[in-house]
């Protein structure tokens, strides 16, 4: 199972790195699709008046990535805690603890 999961993760990496390679030299900016949609709105209806603004905005791109990283970290921490706990429980129930090396082979 671990081998299959590693292959799946590898495929995800290929899907993420592929676009960077494809657009390596054509100057693609990799801007967010949300921003592009905003530009599209302005193009379709140039006189649209935005009637609300966010209560608070991260003061810089750095703070914004900090908060995005924090969001992912909270999620990853919780997910890791969950699987760590379940794994420990299944090993405790199963008697002899299967070691990580065996897992990687099967």
């Amino acid at each position: 199972m671990m081998k299959r999961n590693l292959l799946l993760l590898l495929a995800v990496i290929v899907l993420a790195v592929g676009p960077l390679l494809i657009h390596g030299r054509d100057g693609a900016e990799f801007t967010g699709s949300d921003d592009q949609a905003e530009a599209m709105i302005t193009q379709i209806q140039p006189d649209y008046q935005r009637w609300a603004v966010p209560i608070w905005e991260p003061p810089s791109g750095e703070i914004e990535s900090l908060l995005f990283a924090l969001q992912a970290a909270i999620g990853a921490g919780l997910l890791g805690y969950y699987f760590g706990r379940r794994r420990a429980q299944s090993e405790a129930k199963g008697g002899s603890a299967p070691n990580a090396l065996q897992d990687a082979v099967h």
Binding site: M1, R4, N5, L8, L9, A11, V12, L15, A16, G18, P19, L20, I22, H23, D26, A28, E29, F30, T31, G32, S33, D34, Q36, A37, E38, M40, I41, I44, Q45, Y48, R50, W51, A52, V53, P54, I55, W56, E57, P58, E64, L67, F68, A69, Q71, A72, I74, G75, A76, G77, L78, L79, Y82, F83, R85, R86, R87, Q89, S90
Partner: protein, 223 residues
């Protein structure tokens, strides 16, 4: 897929909020019931919410030369059902609207509708539909997560098209434009989400058999 603060007309904001509210209420009641009757799945519920947190924070590059992020809702929808996922999505959308200026409070209803309702219902339907059609659970959850993700972005495109019809080509023309921005960019990301969800599914099958069995009984009883 987050429609930004102030970028939907007031009437649309109210309409989408009204459409989403019943699902949030149903989901909250279902969570209360599931947790009361089966406290052993509480931690898996938190982990499924954590998965939405992770995936919706990952802005990934796409073949179109732009970036977007997956939704992460297919896992929770397949395990706990769509309305539970509505609540989890609402929490993430609120976090992003308040702390990241990503999405917004005025557009919260519309964003809940695409990410928390349509995506999860598509995923839930596909997971259980494909499984009863005889496909393996791992394949079923791949299509559930991938197409649930994609459908969310299709809905966003139409929400924007309804609000901003093209002067020449109308709603259909605007939808084509917004789909051009969102849908194509999303295809590789949706596939990534599908693959990652299979990884989590495989781990659950190995370490959480008891919970999966409990949830399978629950999902037969009520959506």
């Amino acid at each position: 897929m987050h429609i930004m603060e102030g970028y939907l007309p007031v009437t649309h904001c109210i309409a989408w909020a009204a459409a989403s509210a019943p699902f949030v209420i149903l989901g909250a009641r279902r969570i209360t019931r599931v947790v009361r009757e089966h406290p052993e799945v509480k931690l898996l519920l938190a982990a499924s919410g954590a998965y939405v947190f992770i995936l919706s924070a990952l802005k990934m590059p796409s073949v179109t030369g732009s970036c977007s992020h997956p939704t992460g809702t297919g896992l929770a929808a397949s395990l706990f059902g769509p309305t539970v996922t509505t609540v989890l999505s609402a929490i993430v959308l609120l976090f992003q609207a308040l702390l990241l200026a990503h999405g917004g409070l005025t557009t919260l209803g519309a964003n809940i509708f695409s990410m928390g309702i349509v995506g999860p219902f598509v995923a839930y339907g596909l997971f259980h539909g494909l499984k009863s059609a005889g496909l393996g659970a791992a394949i079923a959850i791949f299509f559930a997560a991938t197409l649930g993700d994609l459908s969310t972005y299709v809905v966003t495109s139409f929400q924007l098209a309804f609000a901003f019809p093209d002067p020449a080509s109308g709603i259909a023309g605007a939808a084509a434009k917004f789909l051009g921005v969102f849908a194509i960019t999303q295809v590789p990301l949706a596939i990534s989400e599908g693959l990652l969800t299979v990884v989590v599914w495989n781990l659950l099958n190995k370490y959480s058999k008891g919970e999966i069995a409990t949830l399978a009984i629950l999902s037969r009883r009520a959506a």
